[in-house]
Assembly symmetry: C2
Homo-oligomer: 365 residues x 2
Amino acid sequence: MDERVREHAAVLVDWSARVEAGDNVVLSVGPDAHELAVAVAEQLGERGANLLATYSSGEIQRAYLRAHDGDFDEDPAHELALAEHADVFLSLGGGRNTSATADVPGEIRQAYRKAQEGVREARYDTRWVSTVHPTRSLAQQANMAYEEYRDFAYDAILRDWEALAEEMARMKTILDEGSEVRLVSPGTNLTMSIEGRTAVNSAASVEYDSHNLPSGEVFTAPNGTDGEVTFDVPMTIQGESVRDVRLEFDDGEVVASEAAEGEAVIGDVLETDDGARRLGELGIGMNRGIDRYTDSILFDEKMGDTVHLALGRAYDACLPEGETGNESAVHVDLITDVSEESRLEVDGEVVQRNGRFRWEDGFDA
Amino acid sequence: MDERVREHAAVLVDWSARVEAGDNVVLSVGPDAHELAVAVAEQLGERGANLLATYSSGEIQRAYLRAHDGDFDEDPAHELALAEHADVFLSLGGGRNTSATADVPGEIRQAYRKAQEGVREARYDTRWVSTVHPTRSLAQQANMAYEEYRDFAYDAILRDWEALAEEMARMKTILDEGSEVRLVSPGTNLTMSIEGRTAVNSAASVEYDSHNLPSGEVFTAPNGTDGEVTFDVPMTIQGESVRDVRLEFDDGEVVASEAAEGEAVIGDVLETDDGARRLGELGIGMNRGIDRYTDSILFDEKMGDTVHLALGRAYDACLPEGETGNESAVHVDLITDVSEESRLEVDGEVVQRNGRFRWEDGFDA
């Protein structure tokens, strides 16, 4: 086993999920994430945690969903009970084909997601962390050789998370104290309110309300979004290629949408429910260990020089006690490159220009 | 996909587990049983059942158990809750190495099994069925080519189960009405009481209290076993090769044991708990679609011309209402060939001689 697989497992279990003896852990394993699962199992055994492994396969999902009539039972008792009795939920992504579910009809997919809302909420109440094992299919999606992709992935995952958390704390302070964010970039001129919202210093650990490994972003929950935005970072969403999505917002809601590719997928997303037409997240990528787009949301949205917005569900961590954020069965991230002709302003003050943060060398005030 | 994979899935879901709309199904998937899992998922979707897939990997199990100090939490709440809320539990065996857990210390293995007793009991309360996908590792264990092994496995699995159930009903009647069984064979002269016990017509369906696919055996729960028995069918138990186990019973309990190979494994089994030294099962193989030993308990114990006995846990289905059978954390089957110089008597009357049942052509009364 590549020593980096063991290091990845140790970061996941210790830094990210803070697993302790007696924790009831659900380990969700993708078909090609087997090797990482073995390394994680070893870590869990060492810590005296209790392990139950589930199997997360796009091909199984596809077969099940396509055969179903779409009238799904809400939150099946066995799935709900498992999630409700788990302390930790670790998702090890890694399939054999990132388009494995591409031919599942959108309405079936949506109906299933809606029916699983309670299960998902219960999972979000655990110390959950999503990561991926660098697989051949992810390498292919990134247009990279397998070995090259592994180097890329471990560069992003095996970082000095404590140091990055310190840098990101600066951005969190700016957002926590700010009221209005403006994002300007080619095809983008958007304002949104972040008044009273709390930013998350997403340092890849549940201790920071951060649930992705790798992470390296600061995000908050905006509202009252107005203006237009173009997402120029290419992505695959629900197994389909999506390019240059353009959304127009009025008083917080999407009023027009188009895309150079994948317009139907975006349409499906927007029609899921009311909340799917509003933003649940504004995120600022700060992981400079990620140096290129690889068509994987887990990596792309964390990259330095990018800003992302998510349609749908807001994370509770961004909301003041007792306040409800945007509710939706979906949370779909879309990314825009801010490395050129771009600026991010908080209350009229430029925080990032052409990719440089104001505390970095080369920032042009 | 080989059409037989789909047929296997249909037999499992319809004939074996009797899955209906709304059933909460746990699908336990071995790493190389993926293809069968896809076919089963399709069947479950068609029927409107609720699917949760778990991942059953010997390598993950090994990594976890070897790293653990052996002081396992009893029946972790998340595992127990999942089992308790399931209606159906389908186990699709199929790993990459049948010896994957061979170097897990026996005492760790036993401690884990003991700690999982409640989870196991909850699973036995569902409509549970165990089957295997014919994999390369199973072919290797059977000393067969992969294609040859697939033919073998599907011959055993895709049978006319209703017709076999009718034949097996004869044996069930004999055992239900009988009081004492005597088994005589080279190295074997054993008597046991079956008074008041109910035999199971194991026709590969929960409707018959039968939980294996393939099946094709009639079994009951003996007690008061006396005499000696030699198990001459070669097997792999807990990843280790076991040959010619010889047990001596006195008043129901093993008082001496030896083996040409794997004596330590048998010793570990016997030391699990008190119940591990007593028999939980007497089974008579009646599936003539299985024409050779393949070192897989699921197939070998069902083969015509064999009788098997299990150390450990008795199945409730064999016991009169309110009576408790042999209790143990283990259930380990051992098989003896009865094709030559052998006879099975019930209350002094020969039921099977040299492999022929008394209703078959060639039976020599």
